[in-house]
């Protein structure tokens, strides 16, 4: 089983030089700490910044410079600022190469190229709002879900999402503490198992059919 940090590190290996990337709040944000050497990526913040830098040094915080999680950040060289309309133009327009988000539930229907995602509300609980998540999953070229495989004993990869959807047919890849999985028209294909995790354990923790890649690997961590 992977730690949250290890999940983030595995996702980071999907980054390619020159990628423009949007990282969601929480676990996905950690991906920024594991960008491979020699790979230059530009992090997008949907509130209007291309080129998020690290957190500022104490005393250097600028209330005019925050990320989408309302945290104080910095800008890198080569960054640019723009309005919310311009920010979501590039998101919806497919200009962002990769978006990493968390999930409450994921499901997949055979024949569909991508999976369904629910990550914005639980009926009966207070609705906080979807923020930019619906736009991000609808628009970015590739959507990777980074999450714990099971939440409070409940499987999150399910036959059909019962929670309200964030997007229909939007998930490309799922990275959890147990495995790396690609969504394909044939089904959810397990490509890597976390060290020490068996096929049997993974299947037991998943409420949707899984396919195992012929060249199934143990994940390098």
């Amino acid at each position: 089983m992977l730690t949250r940090e290890q999940i983030a590190a595995r996702v980071a290996r999907e980054l390619k030089d020159g990628f423009y990337v949007n990282l969601g709040i929480g676990l996905p944000t950690l991906v920024a700490n594991y960008i491979p050497d020699g790979v230059e990526v530009v992090l997008q913040s949907e509130n209007g910044l291309l080129g998020i830098g690290p957190f500022p040094f104490a005393g250097d915080e600028d209330p005019d410079l925050i990320n989408a999680g309302k945290q104080t950040v910095t800008e890198i060289k080569g960054s640019s600022y723009f309005s919310s309309a311009d920010s979501f133009a590039m998101i919806r327009g497919g200009k962002i190469d990769l978006s990493v988000l968390g999930a409450l539930q994921i499901s997949h229907k055979k024949g569909e190229p991508r999976g369904d995602l629910a990550n914005w509300m639980v009926p009966g609980k207070m609705v906080k709002g979807m923020g930019g998540a619906m736009d991000l999953v609808a628009g970015t070229k590739r959507v990777i879900i980074a999450m714990e495989h099971v939440a409070k004993g409940e499987a999150k990869i399910v036959k059909e999402c019962t929670l309200p959807l964030t997007g229909k047919g939007v998930v490309d890849t799922i990275v959890t503490d147990l495995a790396y999985m690609d969504v394909t028209p044939e089904g959810i294909v397990v490509r890597e198992l976390a060290p020490g995790v068996t096929k049997h354990e993974l299947v037991a923790q998943t409420k949707a059919p899984l396919l195992f890649a012929p060249d199934l690997q143990t994940m390098a961590v």
Binding site: E46, G48, L49, P63, D64, I66, G129, G132, D135, A138
Partner: protein
């Protein structure tokens, strides 16, 4: 051209109960603080507010919410405000949740004379319920409508007496599109400069969108999540 007002109170002339207002800002960043405070003092009621967030429980638009001046909110995320939750569950507040990009585009569309647009955002979700949907080139889209409001409140870094505005870093956010959507757009600025002081190539929002402008004061510029790293 007479657009300069002495303060928020005078710039708000004509604001009446029941008005709709588009308000710039993302969280507490880039908020029109002086205008929000002035509306709080005025006690204007039954407002419909279009804003990405609704401040926090104690700050920003949260002040108007707490005083029950807001009848309806159109927002994408309101998780930072506990009073919002209370009023919503008690049925005291109408809420229209709108995906963030759709909200920004609806405000732009309102200002740009677009009658509606098809967006892929929310297709196949409950956001699309009751709306027209359509498959275009194999992809699902939802028809979304423009937003036009009676007033718009925006905050800029610098502005000139004609209303040309320049924003600073991520405090730009929803301010330009809120300005576009307002029938009467009021801008407050940290620094009011003479006409001609701004480089025409560097104006972020042309003066045509701003009807009233004033020099704001006592900016608090709150930080919601102060995150820092250690110097090594």
């Amino acid at each position: 051209m007479q657009k300069v007002y002495s303060d928020a109170e005078s710039a708000l002339k004509g604001l009446a109960d029941g008005a709709s207002i588009a308000v710039g800002g993302f969280g507490l960043s880039g908020n029109p603080e002086n205008l929000i405070t002035a509306v709080s003092k005025l006690g204007t009621k039954n407002l419909t507010v279009v804003s990405n967030n609704c401040g926090t429980t104690e700050l920003g638009l949260g002040v108007l919410l707490k005083a029950k001046q807001i009848k309806k909110m159109i927002s994408s995320y309101v998780g930072e405000n506990k009073e919002f939750e209370r009023q919503f569950l008690a049925g005291e507040l109408e809420v229209e949740l709108c995906p963030q990009g759709t909200l920004a585009e609806r405000l732009r569309a309102g200002g740009a004379g677009i009658g509606g647009f098809f967006t892929p955002t929310g297709y196949g979700t409950q956001i699309a319920e009751g709306k027209e949907t359509r498959i275009i080139d194999g992809k699902g889209y939802v028809l979304e409508k423009p937003l036009v409001t009676d007033f718009a409140f925006v905050k800029a870094w610098k502005g000139d007496a004609w209303g040309n505005l320049v924003f600073r870093k991520t405090a730009r956010n929803f301010n330009p599109v809120a300005a576009m959507a307002g029938k009467i757009t009021i801008a407050e600025v940290e620094e009011l400069v003479p006409v001609g002081a701004l480089d025409p190539d560097q104006v972020h929002l042309p003066s045509v969108y701003v009807h009233r402008i004033f020099q704001g004061k006592n900016y608090q510029k709150w930080i919601e999540q102060r995150t820092v790293r250690e110097k090594k």
